[in-house]
Each structure stands twice: as C-alpha cells, then as structure tokens.
Amino acid sequence: MPILVYAESDQGIFKKSTQELISFARAMADQMNTEVIAAVTQDPSSADLGQYGAHKVLNLENTLLSTFNAELVADALSQVARATGATTVIVSSSANSRYMAPLLAVSLEAGYVPNVIGLPETYTPITVAHNVFTNKATAFTTLQSGISILGLSKNAYGVHQYETNAEITPHEVTLTSSSVEITSLDKASNKVMIADAEVVVSAGRGLKGPENWGMIEELAEVMGAATACSKPVSDLGWRPHSEHVGQTGKPVASNLYIAIGISGAIQHLAGINSSKVKVVINTDPDAPFFKAADYGIVGDAFEIVPDLIQKLREFKAQNA
C-alpha cells in the first residue's frame, strides 16, 4: 500500500518542507516495503523529487488546481488515494495543508494527526509522536482508521538524499467548482515567511517603539531571516499581526530563533519552542527567556544589534 505525499510548491518551486516530507515518507516506505508517490498540482518540473526519495510523481492535470483551493485539492487527493490504494497520506504544516487535511480526512474516513515529530514508533497500527499543548508536551497517538493522514512538523525530520529515478506521469482528476472562490491574493513576494524561514529574528517590547525596527529588519536581511514579534508588539500596532508568534500567534520551528528585547513569557516560549537553536538578547539577566535559550547576551539591544549586523556582514564576506 503506497504512501501518498502532497508535494506543495510555491510558484513552481518545491519548498524545503516538501523535500522533507518526501524523505520522511521514503523512510516510512522502506519500513513498510512500499513506495512513495508524490502528488504535484502545478508541475514544477525544475526539481526531481526522486533525489529526496520519491518513486513516482503524479502530475494532477486540472486547471482548477492552478491556484490553491482547499476543497479542490482535498477532492483531488482523495481521488488519487483511492486510485493508488494509498493507506498513508503525508502532508506538511503549511497554512494550506492545515486547511486542506481535515477535509481530506473526512473524504477518506481517515484519522489525521498533525504536528508529527518523527517516524512512527509502530507501523501496524501506526503510532506517532506529535506535539501537543503548544509544544509543552508530546503525545503518542495510535490511528485506528483504514487510512492515516500524518501532518509533519516543519524541521522535525530533515531532508535526506536518495538516488531514485522518479517517473513522472500525468494523472487525471475530475473536479467540480468549489463553494469558495478566491478573488485576490495579497502576498509580499520579497519577504521571507515565518513558516518557511530557517532563521527568525524576533523583537519585543524592549525595543520601545516601532521606529526602532529598522535594525531588526536589517539584521533579518543580513541573515536571510523572517521578522517576527511578541504579542504586545502587534497588539500595540507596532508590527502587523501576521508577525505575532507564540501560543496564540504563529508557531515557529526554525533552525535559529533570535529573540531581542523579549522577556520570554510562557505563552511566547510555547510557540517558539520547537526552534532548534534559540538566542536571547536582553538587558535583564533574570528575564525568563534565558532559561529557554541556548545562547544569550545580557545587554542593550541598541548596542548589540548594530554590532551584530556589522560582524555578520564581515563573517559573510569571509565565508562567501
């Protein structure tokens, strides 16, 4: 019974999370003696998913899939799952996949576990570890359904290289129009998104006011990072809501999270905990963030951040 992966792409390019999903599926498939089928909707021919472990790529040919619509993607994937006999479907933690997966679960009468952080600990039935309580704990859950849908947490498994020759075949799906119509899209094209970012530079009320965010943006630019902020900063209107991270904001699972002038309240830490390496810069050595961080500097952001920007530029010049 093959494993089906929803291989999301953005403007014709497969995201790193997609590569990770495929590697994860491949490790499962090797255990289950089966193969990995990647379903793509926009035919990004640039990358070969075989190198991450896919055996087959199905190109879902239907113009209705040219822009993301959760209902239609769920409908298409449920047809593919039925046609291929897949009993496991792997999706990412992107906003789109989280929107789509519950619809797919009902169509397939499948169990769905999001925030999965590693390979199953048992395969028949599937039991997986996943984050709960906004990363304050891990749950081990068994799926009791014929088909299982696993939503992999970002950066939980990593990208692995394979030398598989993935054969690409067109696959037809029949879709009717959706009850939800997308009328326009408002997307900053040049900004690194928190959801995809390897590095996130985040600042809090310690920065005193919105006029001081220039250096935060500059630091993010030097690091190729996304910018984020604490909740009060967005509530005060210093930064857009879309940058609010934490338990009630966006989750962050980057490789590196740099917190500047953020105290480290429990609700903030909950949302950023699954980042691999955490750095704090804060004037107060007793700020709770120091208990959660891997590296810290006790000091004034207004002195340290400009220095950090300059030293990083030098570092980059040397390591280029």
Partner: protein
Amino acid sequence: MKILVCISHVPDTTSKINFNADQTAFDTAGVQYVINPNDEFGLTRALWLKEKQGATIHVVNVGGPETEPTLRKALAIGADEAIRVNQPATDGYSVAQALSAIVQEGQYDLVIAGRESIDYNGGMVPGMLAKICGYAFVNTCIGLEIEGSSVTAVREIDGGKENLKTTLPLVIGGQKGLVEESDLRIPNMRGIMQARTKPLHVKQTENINSMSQTLRYEKPAPKQAVTLVENAEQLINLLHNEAKVI
C-alpha cells in the same frame, strides 16, 4: 441568521502542563480553564453580527459537565443559548461528528469555530465539521462580512492574505483579526446575572467513533543551561562552529 459558536474549554495559557502518574492523561489539578482564545475572537465577531444585522447566537461544547462554567461565561459575554454535548472529547473526528449532529438539528447558517484549540492543537474540528455537514469552509479566517447569504472573507496564508467569496451556510476557523484583542468583552455583572437563567441544554449523541487514541504523554527533557556570551563576535563564532546554524 442563526450562528453557532464552537467553544473549546482549555487550560489557561499560563498553566503548567503535567500528566497523571502513568502519563496517560492530563493532570487537571490546579488548572484554570478558559474559553479557547481563538473562540473568544469568534464569539465577539458573532456578537457584532448580531448587533449590526440581527442574529441568534448559540454556543456549543462537546465535553463533560466540568465545561459548563466555560459555557456560562460565553452566555455572560452575550450568547443567547448554550448546548453541551455530553461526550468526552476523545479526538477531533469524534468531536466534529458530535458537532455535526447539533449543526444539522439547529440548521445554523454560520458556524464559527477557532483555527485551533491551544490544548491538543488539532486544528481539525472546523474543517471536518464543514465537510461532514457539506458547508463551505474558510480556515484561519481574519475577516468576515455577510450580506444576505453572500459572504466575503479574508484568510491568513503563509506570508500574506487571501480574499475569498462564498455563501452561507459556512463554517469558519477563526482567530485574532476577526476582532482585535481590545475588542474582547469581559462579562459584566448584568451579563453574569442573565447567564444564570439562559438555557443550557445538555444533549446526547449516538454512533460516534474515534479515529485515533492517545496512548501516553511525555514532557520534553529538561534543557541545558544557556551559554552566555559577551559580544556579537563570540555569538557568531558559536552559531557557526558549535550550533552550525549559520
């Protein structure tokens, strides 16, 4: 317009997360429960719709009797009636099934749920509910306008937002943005008094099945102490050579 707001009863955000001795269940000792923050934004948006264009607002929770104070709080904030489906919330699928029975019986035009509950973080109940009921669905909804049965909505996506058009009946997975933090309402004395006499119906459902079962929980291993550095140069050095993240 009939609006149903789904209310998840969750530990307060400051709660320490502990489990029972054999690690199979959440330890509720000393934990304060609140309306799930995403649902509180949704409830406030529902009140605005009621005030502007008229609506009845019902709130619903799937859970045991211990969730009733949370439902009473929603009544005190302004909902008209509450429903508790007397069933343990074992997994997202079973909760969505139980809610679908309520939605179908009540013929609601609009169902407002939250993007996710902050306890089990499933983010799955609203979508499953929509699909079971055959309602349209908008997730991570940060804007909602209704005229007759036409709906315009805004959805937060990774790195931006998307404007959508749809029709009632509709389920949304809401969050901050539907209303702002400062728009949230604290129950006043009059609301609390009124809530005592507003109806709270307890219902049973049948033929509910779970798709998954949680066997045990673990807490993360204690963290190593922070490495303090003096300056930017040392930090870059450690991030490069030790942590290998730059």
